[in-house]
């Protein structure tokens, strides 16, 4: 199974939709890698355009955000845009159904945490790194700031979603089974 985790970036907003993650004008691409430079291009945070080209964003392997992430269009391009930017986990209070399903279908993780846990992570100072232990269904957030103690949260993982991740996605799983 692939390994999950790495440097995290925080997107402090609820209801981030898939049009913001990857605008429709890029849906004419027929390769996933062509989506790479356009991830989160139309995102507004605090009403201002998000800098999707910042070093922090370039380094990020994990995205942490608030509620109802990935709502709107069914475009799997939103998940691929993360994938081709080497982001392998999105952590949120909750997800829109299709986006969450698309993540597991691609064999990568959509982790739901209680709002209080997310809030704690958002309050941490310094640069954050996430480690995930899939067997224990636990994740640890560490900060570059030594004064900041790491936080470990446990999460729920549906056994079917786990099987999808282990198989490398829904196509591989379904091809074996049906």
């Amino acid at each position: 199974m692939k390994t999950f985790g790495g440097p995290a970036i925080l997107l402090d907003r609820s209801d981030i939709n898939t049009d913001e993650i990857i605008p429709a004008k890029y849906l004419t691409e027929i390769t996933k890698v062509a989506l790479k430079p356009h991830l989160l291009e139309d995102l507004l945070l605090d009403g201002k355009p998000f800098d999707s080209q910042s070093p922090a964003m370039q380094q990020a392997r994990v995205v942490i955000t608030r509620a109802n992430f990935g709502c709107g269009s069914s475009r799997e391009h939103a998940v691929w845009a993360f994938e081709v930017n080497d982001i392998n986990i999105v952590i949120a209070e909750s997800f829109a159904r299709i986006f969450r399903q698309n993540m597991f279908n691609c064999g990568i993780l959509a982790i739901e945490l209680p709002a209080a846990d997310i809030e704690q992570i958002f309050k941490m100072r310094g640069e954050l790194t996430i480690e995930v232990d899939l067997d224990k269904t636990e994740m640890t957030t560490r900060s570059s700031d030594p004064a900041q103690a790491p936080i470990t949260c446990s999460f729920q993982m549906n056994p079917f979603d786990r099987d999808l991740v282990a198989a490398g996605g829904w196509l591989a799983y379904a091809d074996k089974k049906f």
Binding site: D15, E20, K25, E29, V79, A96, F178
Partner: protein, 430 residues
Amino acid sequence: MGKTIATKIFDAHLRDTPTPGNMILDIDVVMCHEITTPIAIMDLMEKGMDRVFDTSKIKAVIDHVTPAKDSKTATQGKIMRDWAKRHQIKDFFDVGANGVCHALFPEKGFIRPGYTVIMGDSHTCTHGAFGAFAAGVGTTDLEVGILKGVCSFRAPETMRVVLTGKLSSGVTAKDVILAVIKRLTVNGATDKVIEFVGPVVDAMTMAARMTLCNMAVEAGATSGLCLPDQVTAEYLWPFIKDQYSSLEVAVADFRKWHSDPDAHYVETIELEVSTLAPQVTFGFKPDQVKDVSELEGTPVDQIYIGSCTNGRIEDLRDAAEILAGKTLAVGVRGVVTPATPAIYSQALDEGIIKIFMDAGFCVLNPTCGACLGMSCGVLAAGEVCASTTNRNFNGRMGKGGMVHLMSPYSAAAAAVTGTITDPRKFLNNN
């Protein structure tokens, strides 16, 4: 305990239960369009799995950008076209015969009560109007659907939305669904199925029910459903007349899908619509909804009438009722796209196209076009559009543009005045 319509459909299609709460269903109709399908086709080809589970259960259309606007969209169309030919997919709709998927496929009689339907398109919930379980999926789900005819869902939890009272003149299904989304918020129905019931739904045409179910996903719902009845049977009659000895027999048969009286709902909400005013969105989320009076006078640059939400003949008639004998306000652009060729043709016969043209509208061929900001009426930064579509997300109709969602009546009223306007001013019986 009794079952809801969604549970009945799930039980009738159950292929596997990998873990409690996850259900793999057999799919009756896999619908495909040129934005989300080509990558699935290319991936299947690369993996040496270029097959389809059942040619007759696949329906395909080029609708989002058509005719092609550039080399990239031309390539997407070509991939679809070649694939349909290779697999002898009979129900493939190309330039001239194509229209917006969620208007075209129902019109062809492809959707029936009790069916399971998937498409790589979030507004697939539209087809729930026929008492089908219809859900939008991503490309990987679509790919597996094409290859194996199955799809996985969580066991359905149903929320019941009871619509009571009677809609007043100038207030439509679009206003009702906007009011419902305002009440539920954009994730109020996430992972749930919405069942729309009550006298208001009973009195709705199939077109109105499709408008209602179309936007269920804007509240996060997996699908929106109406119970199939006489109205459903009449709409489908040309396609089912060999199957049933009479309309009554069909209606009686459809009843087997109805939710049982003791079915369990996770939540029931009631909305009395008799005093409902026309609704309009503000901001970038479809639950940001106000009475039209609260936004009255907001200037607009463009009017857009069309889409899978409101591009049907009933919608064009509503708009034409207000536009007849009037013209677009100075400086305002009007764009109308009848959702299918049959609707376009009907609108020609009824003189509606002439009304739009006389008013100064640009009449487009059936396409999704500007609804998702890909072609045919994209906004410039700072521009405002009064639109009959279903999404007002930031950048949806063009970077920096603002979209106000509303009914065809309200969009037509805005066309005439150049500002957001209560359409009831223009309707005779008020």
